[in-house]
Symmetry: C2
């Protein structure tokens, strides 16, 4: 296993230490239980937005804590759900009296543990709502999921809902907005290579030199089909068609196009995918009016990419454009 | 070769097409000869700042074109110097009458071709100055270099000088500033894995499962030493010691700490390096007052990292904080 780490069991704690040292103006980190929270929390008069999930998908979620996005993020061990005490303690730390929105990716462990945390917080009189993200069109059920997995739309939801919270939306309105974003977002990913979970010490799966996995999950769990390697244009077509036909996206739609690296795929390749995606959408009369291109929801060093499309309305466009200042996403501030 | 590409010979052009489609508000792309330039160029009353070099280091340089950074960038083929006509045509396109500053990484091909472009532009009556970046402490001469190679400090120079150009610095003052940044910046990198140049189709070099290369160049060219894999803390010490002792950086210095992924190394590992770097500097009384952490000067999908330290003064700090809006670096706008 070739990684820039010390002991595998220290990876998450040491990463969090680094994050806190690097961005003291934006985030603080609580250890035992682990969570990242806004340096200025609790923010008075604002609903607090909390997400979390296994580590290994950086910058999601810890890198999305800050003004205009999350109030707290609860990282589990690599590819492992966080425990209820993490979300419960985070909720108490960032709650300003206006309630808490949990943004939860649809994985069975995450759902269960966020539910338990919500119950604990409610026991303390904190109002909590949870919204589930399940935008991955690859498979209906999967290794860790009842129903669809939550992937790229999570990042977009955190940005849009985070901006709305900053603008003073009520908990109820925020939960509705989060459901709207999830309902209008669809994703699918693929992998050229596996990744290696530090504690496992060996690749999660094996792919032959001429193979790829279409519809891969962000933990390397199986997707739709293992097939021979194709060109970037063909791969973009496979991903885009699955995403477009699912909602479906239609001529006249305005979308946010999100081309995401699984971690190891460099920018030069992402722009080749984006080029083809732009052409595919253009031919169908679907207009890209916002975009996000880079590494935002990753699987450690896995090579591969995912495409997310989000059908936008005026509210989502305006909220997307609002300033954001987090370690992983920043503009306007 | 596992990459998200179409034909190897189309990689650079297709990437540039994608970049132009993704950021039409920030950049335009000229083909034959290839260069990326500010959508609003020429910017009246401003010295134009141009850089360039082989592709494969994205976001550098094309991703750094935009308000507050570069006016144009000239990408060669992957790991290959751009040709003089690229810089010459770019210079004519972005020149507003105030002169041109070339920021050139110290590689023999780049130096020669930027020199020829400068002569061509001067022949047209355009005033041109060139500043060479040679901050890599790993080796004195190298495969492609007389003297030290230019690496991480290039990114920092482009940001700081770009901000100064925006503020109306004269060509002479900009050239002085660029030399000051280069004179105060030092870098060293290392690799866990090789990368594969698309046209070559096979890894540039081989490293055994338990080996790493210290002092690697950004084209995979040899560094100081091939050695057994060490822990992240030990690797950080090796890189930091070489960088600190070279300038040397001393107690009381205020620095910008730049922890950069070679491409394939994910955020989670960069923060582990940053954590150790912070501790090393802290013990020496060197204070990190600005930081940059991520993938900014890469070697395709290579796994590895580099550390750059830049000794700051008030001028550099203020210019670093100025707004920037490019595809690859953005804040304040």
């Amino acid at each position: 296993m070739k990684k820039l780490i010390n002991k595998p069991e220290d990876v998450v704690n040491e990463e969090l230490e680094g994050l806190a040292l690097a961005f003291p103006d934006i985030v603080k980190v609580n250890f035992s239980p682990n969570f990242v929270y806004r340096a200025d929390a609790p923010v008075k008069g604002k609903v607090a937005v909390i997400s979390g999930g296994g580590s290994g998908h950086e910058p999601m979620h810890g890198g999305f804590v800050g003004k205009g996005m999350l109030d707290a993020a609860c990282p589990g061990q690599v590819f492992t759900s966080p425990t209820p005490d993490q979300m419960y303690e985070a909720a108490k730390k960032v709650h300003s009296g206006e309630g808490i929105l949990f943004i939860v990716k649809n994985y069975s462990g995450d759902i269960m543990n966020f539910d338990m945390a919500a119950d604990l917080a409610k026991g303390d009189g904190i109002e909590v709502k949870s919204v589930i993200i399940d935008d991955d069109v690859a498979v209906q059920n999967s290794l860790y999921t009842q129903g669809r997995r939550g992937v790229g739309t999570t990042v977009l939801t955190e940005k849009i809902v985070g901006a709305a919270a900053e603008k003073g939306y009520s908990l109820e309105k925020l939960a509705e907005l989060a459901k709207k974003v999830n309902g209008n977002g669809r994703s699918m990913g693929m992998a050229l290579t596996s990744c290696t979970v530090p504690m496992a010490g060996k690749p999660t799966f094996e792919l032959a030199e001429d193979e790829m996995e279409i519809g891969i999950g962000i933990h390397g769990e199986p997707g739709r089909e293992r097939m021979k390697l194709k060109t970037a244009d063909e791969i973009t077509e496979i991903l885009a068609d699955a995403v477009i036909n699912d909602l479906p996206f239609k001529a006249g739609d305005e979308v946010l196009a999100f081309v995401n690296s699984m971690g190891g795929t460099p920018d030069i390749e992402l722009f080749i995918l984006y080029r083809k995606l732009h052409k595919i959408l253009d031919l169908k009369g679907i207009k890209i009016v916002r975009k996000l291109i880079g590494r935002y929801i990753t699987s450690l060093e896995m090579q591969g990419a995912s495409i997310t499309l989000l059908k936008l309305d005026e509210e989502m466009k305006e909220l997307w454009d609002e300033p954001v200042k987090t370690p992983g996403l920043r503009w306007g501030i």
